[in-house]
């Protein structure tokens, strides 16, 4: 499999991907898809964090199966990822990430993907990472609900190490739910920015 990836992506790039450690915070619609993309690309180590269990209401947009309803998302995603990319090292944390445990959970990560659902959780993680972990990259997401244009989802570079994906405005509200295809677009933007940064292409 490593040989296949080297052939596809080039040895130099593959070396960078397999040496990288990326954290994904939240394993819902964004995080489960980000993790799959990064695992397929051959990222060496994925630190995957979520406290929640797979619910039947998650299946319309998250990378889980009916047979996994009730499992911890960390357990279910690990099983799915091992079938896709067994050569990646998976470090699963079944815990709610907060200001107090973030430093410990994220210490091994070079890049961090924010993939939470709640706006306050997103801002909390952005605050902790940007204020206390200046050496790490943060790729966050805001605005991907509803059926708005796919082309409104984009990646912006806010500071040297802070990237923001999404349309910036479409939050979840009454009558504006999350649609798999648009959430996946945003997740793909995040995963793609991770790979571009690792390839030294730091502009979105």
């Amino acid at each position: 499999m490593q040989a296949a990836l080297r052939e596809r992506q080039g040895a130099a790039l593959q070396e960078r991907f397999s040496a990288a450690s990326v954290a994904v915070c939240g394993l819902g619609g964004l995080g489960s898809h980000i993790a799959v993309s990064l695992a397929r690309a051959g990222i060496g180590r994925l630190i995957l964090i979520d406290f929640d269990r797979v619910d039947v209401t998650n299946l319309h947009r998250q990378e889980y199966k009916v047979s996994q309803v009730g499992w911890y998302k960390t357990e279910a995603l690990r099983e799915n990822l091992l079938e896709i990319a067994p050569y990646t090292q998976y470090e699963m944390h079944t815990v709610r990430l907060d200001e107090h445990n973030a430093a410990k959970l994220l210490s091994g990560a070079d890049l961090i993907c924010e993939a939470f659902d709640g706006a306050e959780d997103k801002a909390m993680l952005a605050g902790v990472v940007l204020e206390t972990m200046p050496e790490k990259y943060l790729i966050a997401a805001s605005g991907m609900a509803g059926l708005g244009s796919a082309n409104a989802i984009r990646t912006r570079r806010v500071t040297d190490r802070f990237y923001l994906c999404g349309d910036g405005v479409s939050g979840v509200s009454d009558g504006l739910g999350l649609v798999s295809s648009r959430v996946m677009l945003c997740a793909a933007h995040q995963a793609h920015m991770v790979l571009r940064i690792l390839a030294n292409e730091c502009e979105p």
């Binding site: 939470f116 997103k122 952005a126 204020e131 500071t159 979840v172």
Partner: protein, 86 residues
């Protein structure tokens, strides 16, 4: 006549400079808020402090420093306001 025009031109240029100098750019919009603290500016807006991150001239401003951060002429800020969904 020419003198008056020249004077007007100088005056308008001067005023233009004054205007530019006293402005702070926030999310792309020039606002006359130089001299205010970031905390005071935010308090006068609809932003929810629990949902934002603030960047000034390429650097993130820690939340604990909003009260002591004075907005200066020519500053460029972005208030990132997160919305839910993921």
């Amino acid at each position: 006549m020419l003198e008056r025009e020249a004077a007007r031109s100088v005056a308008s240029r001067f005023l233009f400079c004054m205007e530019v100098k006293s402005m702070v750019k926030i999310n792309g919009e020039s606002l006359p808020v130089a001299g205010q603290t970031l905390a005071a500016y935010l308090a006068a807006t609809d932003y929810d402090l629990k949902r934002i991150a603030v960047e000034r001239n390429g650097e993130i401003i820690p939340k604990a420093q909003y009260g002591e951060t004075v907005l200066v002429d020519g500053d460029s800020l972005e208030v990132v306001s997160f919305v839910g969904g993921g």
